[in-house]
């Protein structure tokens, strides 16, 4: 070999190696990026599988016989009210402090705290009930934060000689105390200067009771029945219950879930039942309805609800556990819970538990419940939320108040995504497939050269522009011309088929005159005149078929509402984005049909349509299927168009006249607002993972099918 040839060979080999290396690096980094994305999404979702954990901290002890206990939101100390009438502050790390409460005559007979952890009602030896406000003041000694819990007396109510205090609630100015009485229970409200009271009537003596946080509703439960009272009305001295419900087992403990919709009632059988008041069959009536049951072993001794979410502590004679209302699940059992506990509670920020024994020993646990509102059942199955009368699939991730119960069902989003994609395909697949068939098999050669690049250019229109036009131009236009549009969708195919049939019967002489160009002009003119004609008689159709008003007719005949931004708009707008994808792939599939097969069928006397129907379409069908699947993958993953044109209402409806919210749009709308690491964040990441999996499966199926096509027809094309 000459030196020149050798050096050329060396150089070309070096270039080969370099290019090969570049391609390898590029290819593997694409794979790596996809794999990383997958791993990231999965890693962000995994914490949702956790059921939470409890961490026990060493117990501390002070002052025997506690009557009530409160904890500050920093969990720095548990503040006990002792029988001795003193406030015992038991900090986590330092020695306990004792402060006598002014004017309290020991021994204190009973004490009760409110659900918010700010009020304490106690009855002392004098027989009067004092209401005290609990506060934890934050002070700074240099760089160290010191939390100073304090109790301040805000009201005094007349006592009822040892009658049990059932509940305390209300604000600091006008606290309300519910005390058992001979007729049922007495609600003591008003101020010290202008006291007020309402007697709640119950046939049998109440065992437990509860008050809403603003004292606007009360619950009483005797051994036989549960009664509900609305206190919002006037100031009658005697008030009968607005709703009652018999009880199967005598109640032992009651607690309101934050939000005041749900009363938790524990009983001797060990069940904790969640009761809600719903509107009854008779107008204006109220009915107590069982919304959930948490079964367990051993009678319920005490209940304590979280102030942050729907978690609650259930203390039973045979073990203590934490449950969650939304998911109707018992999350974990509390290990080493003292069997002689007298007071127990959940820390204000729901990050800890405490329990105090008769001997004054304070047990504490750090609490992490992971993501209790997002479980497989709440994400994918109908769930009965507070304020609902039956289990529903709903998505409403955020609400106005702190006690809002997030509704995180992914089904409306999943259905919305599939609905949007389906309506888009319903419009785009026939259009794109027919166009591809026409362009590849029938069109004059000159048109073929132009049409394909033009249709492919549709894909270059930014989806935000398509979405914008869909939402602000197409949606109002469709609202005005919905009848004409629907009629056109029926008429166009019918007219085309009818015209073809008529043409078949036309004399041979006429048919011989036809050239592809004349064909195109004739068909275009036909379609244009049908469109103009349909819109011209649109009003007439609406008058004859729908009594002049389609939207009114839909509502009265089928109960269907018409949203301006609906699935039809999305079908057109999203379809516009999907058409170029399906068209290009379908056209390729038709071009891959070996011409020898088309020639063979033509030579056997097939017309062009027969050749297309019997040879081109069957031979291209796997490729056509792959094209539609790829279009579906695009429609499922599309964000901008659905974000702008769907209305984003996460409703579960298959109606073409309703909007929807798709998974992609939901992520785009809500992820920027979701606190990092929170439940909503994790659920949205899970949504992203599902979306990724869906498009991945759809696209992989499309690729596999088109590969099969190549194997099947490769032999012939070669």
């Amino acid at each position: 070999m000459s030196p020149l040839a050798a050096s050329r060979l060396r150089r070309s080999r070096a270039v080969d190696r370099l290019v090969a290396a570049l391609i390898t690096v590029g290819g593997s980094s694409v794979l790596l990026a996809v794999a990383f994305l997958m791993v990231f999404l999965v890693a962000q979702c995994l914490p949702m599988l956790g059921t939470g954990s409890l961490k026990r901290t060493p117990p501390a002890s002070d002052g025997p016989k506690p009557v009530a206990a409160l904890e500050d939101e920093y969990r720095s100390a548990v503040t006990l009210l002792g029988e001795d009438g003193a406030m015992h502050v038991v900090p986590r790390s330092s020695t306990p402090r004792v402060t006598h409460l002014d004017g309290v005559q020991p021994p204190v007979r009973q004490g009760r705290t409110d659900a918010a952890g700010t009020l304490l009602a106690l009855e002392d030896a004098s027989g009067a009930i004092g209401v005290w406000a609990f506060a934890a003041e934050v002070k700074w000694h240099g760089n160290t934060r010191v939390i100073e819990p304090s109790l301040r007396k805000i009201a005094t109510k007349p006592g009822h000689a040892g009658a049990p205090i059932l509940a305390v609630a209300g604000d600091l100015d006008i606290p309300a105390v519910l005390v058992a009485s001979s007729k049922g229970a007495m609600l003591l409200t008003g101020t010290d200067d202008a006291p007020a009271s309402v007697e709640l009537m119950l046939p049998s003596p109440p065992r437990v009771g509860a008050l809403a946080a603003d004292a606007s509703q009360a619950w009483l439960a005797s051994g036989r029945e549960l009664a509900w009272y609305s206190l919002a009305g006037g100031q009658e001295a005697l008030l009968a219950s607005q709703a009652t419900e018999p009880l199967a087992s005598p109640p032992t403990a009651a607690a309101m879930v934050v939000g005041d919709f749900t009363l938790l009632l524990g009983d001797e059988s060990g069940s904790v039942n969640a009761w809600q008041v719903v509107t009854g069959a008779v107008a204006g009536s109220k009915v107590i309805n069982l919304a959930g049951t948490f079964a367990g072993n051993g009678a319920v001794r005490a209940l304590a609800a979280s102030q942050r979410d729907k978690a609650f502590l259930v203390e039973r004679t045979r073990g203590t556990s934490i449950a969650y209302l939304t998911s109707r699940r018992t999350l974990l059992s509390v290990p080493e819970f003292p069997s002689d506990s007298t007071v127990a509670g959940i820390s204000p920020r729901r990050d800890g538990l405490f329990a105090v024994t008769r001997a004054g020993v304070v047990h504490r646990w750090g609490l992490d419940l992971a993501y209790p509102e997002a479980t497989a059942s709440t994400l994918f199955l109908p769930t009965r939320y507070e304020g609902f009368t039956s289990p529903e699939l709903a998505w409403q991730s955020t609400g106005g108040s702190e006690s809002f119960e997030p509704k995180l069902s992914l089904i409306p989003l999943l259905v919305g995504t599939l609905k949007g994609a389906l309506y888009a395909l319903l419009f785009s697949a026939p259009c794109a497939l027919a166009a591809a068939l026409f362009i590849s098999q029938f069109a004059p050669a000159a048109l073929r050269q132009v049409a394909k690049p033009v249709v492919e250019m549709m894909a270059a229109v930014p989806s935000v522009v398509v979405g914008f036009l869909g939402a602000l131009f197409l949606a109002p236009l469709l609202q005005r011309h919905i009848v004409g549009t629907l009629a056109l969708l029926v008429f166009l195919p019918v007219v085309v088929v009818a015209a073809a049939a008529v043409w078949q019967g036309a004399p041979v002489m006429w048919r011989r005159r036809m050239t592809p160009t004349r064909e195109l002009v004739l068909v275009s003119a036909l379609l244009a005149s049908v469109s103009v004609g349909v819109f011209a008689v649109e009003k007439g159709i609406e008058r004859v078929l729908f009594a002049g008003d389609l939207k009114g007719w839909l509502l009265s005949a089928a109960g269907i509402t018409y949203d301006q931004r609906n699935a039809v708009v999305v079908g057109f707008a999203l379809g516009f984005a999907v058409i170029p994808i399906i068209f290009t792939l379908a056209e390729d599939a038709f071009s891959n049909v070996p011409p020898s097969l088309i020639s063979a069928s033509l030579a056997l006397g097939a017309s062009r349509w027969q050749a297309a129907r019997t040879v081109a379409i069957p031979a291209a069908s796997p490729g056509l299927f792959a094209a539609v699947m790829t279009g579906l993958g695009r429609a499922v993953g599309e964000t901008m168009i659905v974000l702008m044109a769907t209305g984003n209402t996460p409703i579960l409806s298959f109606s073409p006249f309703n909007g929807m919210r798709t998974m992609s749009a939901c992520i785009a709308v809500e992820l920027p607002e979701a606190p990092y690491g929170g439940t909503l964040y994790r659920v949205l990441i899970l949504t992203a993972l599902l979306l990724f999996a869906m498009t991945f499966v759809i696209n992989t199926a499309a690729v596999m099918i088109s590969n099969r096509l190549r194997r099947r027809f490769g032999r012939l094309a070669a």
Binding site: V508, S596, L602, L604
Partner: protein
């Protein structure tokens, strides 16, 4: 010479695509029985002549023609004669076997089904008769529902003949049917062609002069778009009238 009427005829045919003139004035007559071979070097227009008779040229871009093309004495462009009807009468077999990716049976019955024949008995009769005429019956009768793509190349080509015969054509156009086949398959194919030509007219385009000598009663030699010489095969090969023919058949060019 022939006692039989004319099956195919060309009168002063000039034909081209766009600017290119491919055939420059051809007169040809093919009798309704026997095999006529079209020979000539590559690009001389043999296949174009063949494709005139079933109007397959019409599908090519820029096609135009002057002069008459007739099949069984009738102009193929007769406006009362539909393209489909013409092609039922004129069968064609291509250079490479091109069976449809269907069963053997459905391949054969493709034409009859297009013609709208639905009676099972008729179709079965057509199926067996076509396969027998194409000498494929023995090989195919037990596997009629098997895919045609399982056949060997030679069998596929005979299947294509059977497919063309299923429409009972009067004329069969063969465009270098043996070019993709091995010698044994070619021999069987030639045997089939010879048998068929007792009933119908066969126009055979071939590159292979021995093949023309073996199967064709008459041979036409085309060169650069002109018909140089046409006559009985034995005469054309042994005592050609034209010098060009002699040079071609003796292998001096081509």
């Amino acid at each position: 010479m022939s006692a039989h009427p004319e099956a195919l005829g060309l009168r002063d045919l000039v034909l081209g695509f766009g600017e290119t003139e491919v055939l420059k004035g051809i007169d040809l007559s093919v009798s309704s029985r026997g095999v006529t071979a079209l020979i000539g070097p590559s690009g001389c227009g043999k296949s174009t002549v063949l494709r005139c008779f079933n109007r397959m040229n019409d599908h090519l871009v820029g096609f135009w023609h002057r002069g008459d093309i007739s099949v069984t004495g009738r102009d193929v462009y007769d406006p009362t004669w539909s393209l489909e009807a013409l092609r039922f009468q004129v069968g064609m077999v291509f250079q490479k076997p091109n069976p449809f990716p269907l069963s053997i049976k459905e391949n054969v019955l493709f034409g009859p089904r297009l013609a709208g024949i639905t009676e099972t008995a008729t179709l079965d009769a057509i199926l067996s008769r076509s396969l027998q005429r194409a000498n494929l019956w023995d090989e195919a009768k037990d596997r009629l529902d098997a895919s045609a793509l399982e056949f060997s190349g030679g069998q596929q080509q005979r299947l294509c003949i059977a497919r063309a015969l299923a429409s009972s054509p009067d004329i069969l156009l063969l465009d270098e049917p043996a070019s993709a086949l091995d010698p044994i398959a070619t021999a069987r194919l030639e045997e089939t062609i010879a048998e068929l030509s007792q009933d119908i007219a066969v126009l055979l385009v071939t590159h292979n002069m021995q093949q023309a000598a073996r199967v064709a009663q008459r041979t036409a030699f085309l060169y650069l778009g002109r018909l140089v010489e046409e006559g009985e095969t034995t005469k054309l090969f042994s005592a050609p009238r034209e010098r060009l023919t002699e040079e071609y058949v003796t292998g001096r060019f081509g």
